[in-house]
C-alpha cells in the first residue's frame, strides 16, 4: 500500500486552484493533459481526422515545394497544381528507409491513397488536366490560403520574416529573378520598373517553401499516429498529444530554407546556413497564423469592417479553425470548406460509421468532420502549448510552487485567448458538439 501513497503525496496541490473561466482545462493541462477531454470517442475522432488530413497534406507539401522550387515566378502559373512526377516521388525526409529520422514506418513517396485519388477523383479515371479543370482534385487553394495567412500576418516570432527584408535576401532573390527571366526582356523590364513587386512574389514563394517544409514533417507524424492507433498503441488523448510534443522536439531543429532550381542550377534564396529552424520559423508562426488568426473568409458569412466586426489590429484576428464557425460551408471560396472536402475523400471507415450515426448522417459529413477537425486542432494546439511550456518554463512535476505558478500563469495566458465568444474551446468539451 505504501508505494502508491508516496506519489500521491507529491501530486497533492502545491498551489491553489485556478479561478480562470477555463480552470478545469488549465488543471488538465497542468496534469499533462490536452485541451480536448480524454474520451475514447475524442481519440477516435482526432486520430481518424489526422489520417484523413495527412493524405491531402502529403500532396500539399509536395506541391508547395514544387511551386516554390520549380514553378517559381512563372507569370501564368496555370499548371502549378499539376505536380511533376519527380516531386510526387520526392522522398519524405521523415519516412522511408532513406530518412535520417524515421517518424513514419511507411514509404517515402506519395501516399498510395493519394495516388489512387489523383487517378480517379470523385468522378472517374480521366487525364490529369480534365480532373484539374473539373475541379475533381486536391484543393491546393487551401494550402495556398494557409501560406498567404502566414505571409500576411508576418512578425509572429522567429527571424524569418525580418530576413525577407535583408540585403542578403534581396541579393539572393535578385540573382534568381535575373536567372529565371534570362532572355525575357518583357519580364526583366517589368522587374526593373517594379522591383518590389517581383520581390514580393519571391517572398511569397519563400513562405510557400516554408509551409511545404513544415507539412513535410506533419504528414508522417499523422500517418504514424494513425498506424499506432490501429495497432492499439495509442489509447488516450494525452498520449496522442505527447506523441505530437515529442515529434515537435524531435524535428525542432530541422532547417527551413528556400532553394530554386532554374535550368538545372540551384539558387539558394534562403540558404540552410542561415540557421532557420522548423519550430521557430515554421511551426509557431503557422499555428499562430492559421489556427488562431487567418482572415475573414469571403463566404456565406459577411463581415462589416465599418462596424468593427473586423479588428483594426491584425494580432486581434481570430478567424482560425479554433474559432471557426464550421456550419456555413458548402459555398465556394471558403478555405476550410476546401480542406473539409479534401479530408472527406480519405476518411477512415470508423469515422464514416460514426458520422452516419449522428446528426444528418451522410448528408452533413462535411460539417461533422469539420467539427472533428476542430477538436483535433485543439489537441495539436495543446501539444504546441505544452511544448512551449517545456521549452520556456518548468516541468509539470516541478516541486517548487513558484515554478508551478509560472506554469499556471502561462497556461492562463494561453487560455485567455479563448475567452472571446467565437472560441470553440467550450463547445469541444462535450460530445454534443458535432
Amino acid at each position: 500500500m505504501t508505494p502508491t501513497a508516496a506519489p500521491e503525496r507529491i501530486q497533492a496541490p502545491l498551489i491553489p486552484p485556478s479561478s480562470h473561466r477555463y480552470a478545469e482545462i488549465i488543471h488538465r493541462l497542468e496534469a499533462g493533459g490536452s485541451m480536448l477531454p480524454d474520451t475514447p470517442e475524442n481519440l477516435m475522432q482526432i486520430i481518424g481526422i489526422y489520417k484523413a488530413y495527412a493524405v491531402p497534406m502529403d500532396f500539399y507539401w509536395r506541391d508547395l515545394l514544387y511551386i516554390a522550387e520549380q514553378v517559381f515566378l512563372q507569370p501564368l502559373p496555370a499548371f502549378k497544381y499539376l505536380i511533376s512526377q519527380e516531386y510526387l516521388d520526392r522522398p519524405n525526409s521523415y519516412a522511408g528507409d532513406q530518412s535520417q529520422l524515421r517518424i513514419w514506418r511507411g514509404g517515402e513517396k506519395a501516399h498510395p491513397e493519394l495516388l489512387e485519388f489523383m487517378e480517379r477523383g470523385e468522378t472517374r479515371r480521366m487525364p490529369k488536366l480534365l480532373h484539374h479543370l473539373w475541379h475533381d482534385r486536391v484543393n491546393m487553394e487551401f494550402a495556398e490560403a494557409c501560406m498567404q495567412a502566414m505571409l500576411w500576418h508576418q512578425g509572429m516570432g522567429g527571424r524569418f520574416n525580418d530576413y525577407l527584408e535583408s540585403d542578403a535576401y534581396r541579393a539572393n532573390a535578385d540573382r534568381a529573378i535575373k536567372a529565371y527571366f534570362k532572355g525575357n526582356p518583357l519580364m526583366l523590364g517589368l522587374y526593373r520598373l517594379f522591383p518590389e513587386m517581383v520581390l514580393e512574389q519571391v517572398r511569397q514563394l519563400s513562405y510557400t517553401a516554408n509551409l511545404g517544409l513544415f507539412w513535410e514533417v506533419m504528414a508522417p507524424v499523422f500517418f504514424e499516429m494513425s498506424d499506432l492507433y490501429d495497432e492499439g498503441k495509442l489509447t488516450s488523448v494525452p498520449q496522442a498529444m505527447d506523441f505530437l510534443v515529442n515529434g515537435i522536439f524531435a524535428v525542432a531543429g530541422r532547417p527551413i530554407y528556400h532553394h530554386v532550381f532554374i535550368r538545372g542550377e540551384c539558387f539558394e534564396i534562403i540558404p540552410k546556413s542561415e540557421g532557420f529552424t522548423w519550430l521557430y520559423e515554421a511551426a509557431l508562426p503557422y499555428v499562430e497564423a492559421v489556427f488562431y488568426r487567418t482572415s475573414p473568409f469571403r463566404g456565406t458569412k459577411s463581415y462589416n469592417a465599418q462596424a468593427y466586426q473586423v479588428p483594426a489590429d491584425q494580432a486581434d484576428f481570430h478567424y482560425g479553425i479554433l474559432y471557426a464557425d464550421v456550419f456555413p460551408v458548402g459555398s465556394a471560396g471558403i478555405p476550410p470548406t476546401l480542406l473539409m472536402q479534401d479530408m472527406l475523400h480519405f476518411l477512415p471507415p470508423y469515422l464514416q460509421e460514426l458520422y452516419k450515426g449522428h446528426k444528418r448522417g451522410e448528408e452533413d459529413q462535411l460539417i461533422q468532420l469539420g467539427v472533428t477537425f476542430q477538436r483535433s486542432m485543439y489537441n495539436v494546439t495543446s501539444a504546441v502549448i505544452q511544448a512551449l511550456r517545456c521549452a520556456l518554463l518548468y516541468p509539470l512535476d516541478d516541486t517548487d510552487p513558484e515554478h508551478l505558478m509560472a506554469n499556471r500563469r502561462f497556461f492562463e495566458a494561453q487560455m485567455d485567448r479563448f475567452l472571446r465568444p467565437e472560441a470553440r474551446l467550450g463547445a469541444i468539451q462535450t460530445q454534443e458538439y458535432r
Binding site: 456565406t300 458569412k301 464557425d325 456550419f327 456555413p328 460551408v329 458548402g330 459555398s331 446528426k359 444528418r360 448528408e363 452533413d364 462535411l366 460539417i367 463547445a427 454534443e432 458538439y433
Partner: protein
C-alpha cells in the same frame, strides 16, 4: 351531377375514413388526399364544362332549398378550397395523431366551405357557413398548441357571433324583402319566403332595412375575414392551430367572408353598400395598417404571418368597398393570391416548427445554412414573403396592383394608406428573413433531419402556382371577369379620368 359530386366526395370520404380500422394512418392520409384531389379534378372538369345549376327542394316551409350553382365568383374559390384541402392533408405529418378524426374534420371543413361557395340559396349558405365552425373549432381545440383551449374558445365565440349575425341578416333580408306581401296572399298557410339569391335580388327592401341588413352582414363577414376591430380570434388561432389547419383557415375559410361580402353586400345590397363604402374602405385601410404594424412588431413567425394576413385582408376590403370593375377583379385576384400565399407561408412555417420545434423569431437564426439548416424551406419561404410583399413576377403583385389601381379613383386617401401599409410588408418580410434565415445557426438546436421531398411537396406545388400566377396574372382574374363586371357599382376608368384631368386644367388656364 358534377355539383353534387363536389359535395358528396368529401362527405363520403370523411365518413369512410372514420370507419377505417385503427393503425392504418398512411392509408387514411392517402385517402383523404385522394378525396381532395378528386374534388379538385371534378372542379377542373366543371370549369371546362360548366354544369347546369341544381335545384332540389329540401325544407320548402323554411325557404331552404338545395340550390347549387357555379359561376365565375365561386368556381375559382371552389378550386382553391379543394387544392388547399389536398395541400393541408399532404402538409400534415405522416404520423399525425388520431388520423381517423383529424382528416375527416379537414374534409368536413372542406365540405362546409365548398357548400357555401356552391350555395345559390342564402339559407343554405348560412347552413354551410355554420357547419365550417364545428370542425375548425375541433381542429384547433384538439391538435392546437399549448394554449389551444383559449384559442378554440375565442375562435368559437367569434364564429358563433358571426354565424348568428349572418343568420339574422339573411332572415331579415328574406322576411322584410318578400315576407309582408306574400304572407298576406297566403293567409292561413305557413309563410313561405324564398331565400334563393335570385329571389333575394328581386326583393325590395327599404333603405333603412337595407342598412340594417348590411350592418349585420358586415358584422358576420367582418368577423370571418377578419377586419379590425373584429379580428380578436385570428392571431390567437393562427398561432395555436396546427400549420396545415391554418393553411385551410387562412387560405379558404377566411375567404368565405370575402365571398360573402362580394355576393351579399356588393351583389344584393348595392345601394346600401355604396352608402356604407367610405366607412368600409376606411376599415380596410385601418386593417391594412394595423396588420402591417403588428407584423413588424411580432416576435413569433406565426403571429407575424397572422398579422400579415390580416393586413392583406384590409386591401381586400378596400377593393370590395370601391366596387369598380377593376377593384372587384383585384378583390378576386387578391382572394386567390392571398389564399395561395398564406397557405405557402404556413406550409413553410409548419415545416420549420416541426423540425426546429419553435417559431419564436429570437430562437431561430441561420436556417438558410446549406447543410445543417432548412435551405429548401427557407428558399420557398423567401419566395412566399416576396409574393406577400407584392414583388413583380409573383402572385401578390397583379392582385395588389389591380386593387390599388381599381380603388384609387374612388377612395384615393384609403388607397394611399393601404399602399403605405403594403410597403411595410417588405419591412417585416426582410426583418423576419434577416433574423431567421441569416446569422449563425445555433449548434445545440440544429439537430434535426432535413426535409424530404414528401414533406416539401405541398409547399412546392403552392410555390409553382404562386410563380405561375405572377407571370400569368390572367390565371387570377379570367375566371371572374364577367361576374365581377356585372356587379360592379362604379365605373373605374382611371384612364378616362386621368385623360380628362389635363383638359379641364387647360380650360381653366386662360381664366
Amino acid at each position: 351531377m358534377t355539383l353534387s359530386l363536389l359535395l358528396v366526395l368529401p362527405l363520403l370520404g370523411g365518413v369512410l375514413l372514420t370507419l377505417l380500422p385503427e393503425g392504418r394512418s398512411t392509408l387514411v392520409r392517402g385517402l383523404a388526399a385522394a378525396v381532395a384531389l378528386a374534388q379538385l379534378a371534378v372542379g377542373l372538369l366543371a370549369w371546362r364544362q360548366p354544369p347546369a345549376d341544381l335545384a332540389l327542394s329540401w325544407l320548402p316551409r323554411l325557404g331552404l332549398g338545395l340550390e347549387l350553382g357555379l359561376d365565375g365568383l365561386s368556381l375559382p374559390l371552389v378550386l382553391l378550397t379543394a387544392l388547399l384541402t389536398a395541400m393541408a392533408v399532404l402538409a400534415s405529418p405522416i404520423d399525425q395523431s388520431r388520423p381517423r378524426l383529424y382528416y375527416p374534420l379537414l374534409l368536413a371543413t372542406n365540405l362546409g366551405v365548398i357548400g357555401a361557395f356552391l350555395a345559390q340559396n342564402a339559407l343554405l349558405f348560412v347552413l354551410a357557413f355554420e357547419l365550417v365552425l364545428i370542425p375548425t373549432t375541433l381542429l384547433v381545440a384538439i391538435w392546437g398548441g399549448e394554449r389551444r383551449a383559449g384559442a378554440a374558445v375565442r375562435f368559437l365565440l367569434y364564429g358563433a357571433v358571426s354565424g348568428l349575425s349572418l343568420l339574422a341578416a339573411v332572415l331579415a333580408f328574406g322576411w322584410f324583402g318578400q315576407g309582408a306581401g306574400e304572407a298576406g296572399a297566403l293567409a292561413g298557410a305557413a309563410p313561405s319566403v324564398n331565400f334563393s339569391f335570385e329571389a333575394l335580388a328581386g326583393s325590395r327592401l327599404t333603405p333603412s332595412a337595407q342598412a340594417w341588413v348590411l350592418a349585420l352582414l358586415l358584422l358576420g363577414f367582418g368577423l370571418k375575414l377578419p377586419v379590425v376591430p373584429l379580428h380578436g380570434w385570428q392571431p390567437f388561432a393562427y398561432c395555436e392551430a396546427p400549420a396545415p389547419v391554418v393553411m385551410l383557415l387562412g387560405g379558404a375559410v377566411s375567404k368565405l367572408g370575402a365571398y360573402g361580402l362580394l355576393r351579399f353586400g356588393v351583389g344584393l345590397l348595392p345601394e346600401a353598400w355604396s352608402a356604407f363604402s367610405p366607412w368600409i374602405a376606411a376599415a380596410g385601410a385601418v386593417t391594412a395598417v394595423y396588420g402591417a404594424l403588428n407584423a413588424v412588431a411580432a416576435t413569433d413567425i406565426r403571429r407575424l404571418m397572422a398579422y400579415s394576413s390580416l393586413g392583406h385582408m384590409g386591401l381586400l376590403v378596400l377593393a370590395l368597398a370601391a366596387a369598380t370593375p377593376m377593384s372587384l377583379q383585384g378583390a378576386v385576384a387578391q382572394i386567390l393570391a392571398h389564399g395561395l400565399i398564406v397557405a405557402l407561408l404556413f406550409a413553410c412555417v409548419g415545416l420549420i416548427q416541426r423540425k426546429t420545434g419553435t417559431t419564436v423569431i429570437a430562437e431561430l437564426s441561420g436556417l438558410l445554412n446549406p447543410i445543417r439548416g432548412l435551405p429548401f424551406t427557407m428558399g420557398l419561404m423567401l419566395l412566399a414573403l416576396m409574393a406577400a410583399a407584392g414583388i413583380p413576377g409573383l402572385a401578390g403583385f397583379p392582385a395588389e396592383l389591380l386593387v390599388f389601381e381599381g380603388s384609387w379613383t374612388v377612395f384615393p386617401r384609403a388607397t394611399l394608406v393601404c399602399l403605405v401599409a403594403s410597403g411595410f410588408t417588405a419591412v417585416y418580410a426582410v426583418r423576419l428573413f434577416n433574423r431567421v434565415g441569416f446569422g449563425r445557426l445555433d449548434n445545440s438546436r440544429a439537430d434535426w433531419q432535413n426535409t424530404h421531398w414528401g414533406e416539401r411537396l405541398p409547399a412546392l406545388v403552392l410555390t409553382v402556382l404562386v410563380v405561375l400566377a405572377g407571370i400569368w396574372p390572367t390565371g387570377l382574374t379570367a375566371w371572374s371577369e364577367p361576374s365581377t363586371a356585372a356587379i360592379a357599382l362604379r365605373h373605374s376608368d382611371a384612364l378616362v379620368q386621368l385623360a380628362m384631368a389635363p383638359e379641364s386644367s387647360t380650360l381653366s388656364l386662360p381664366a
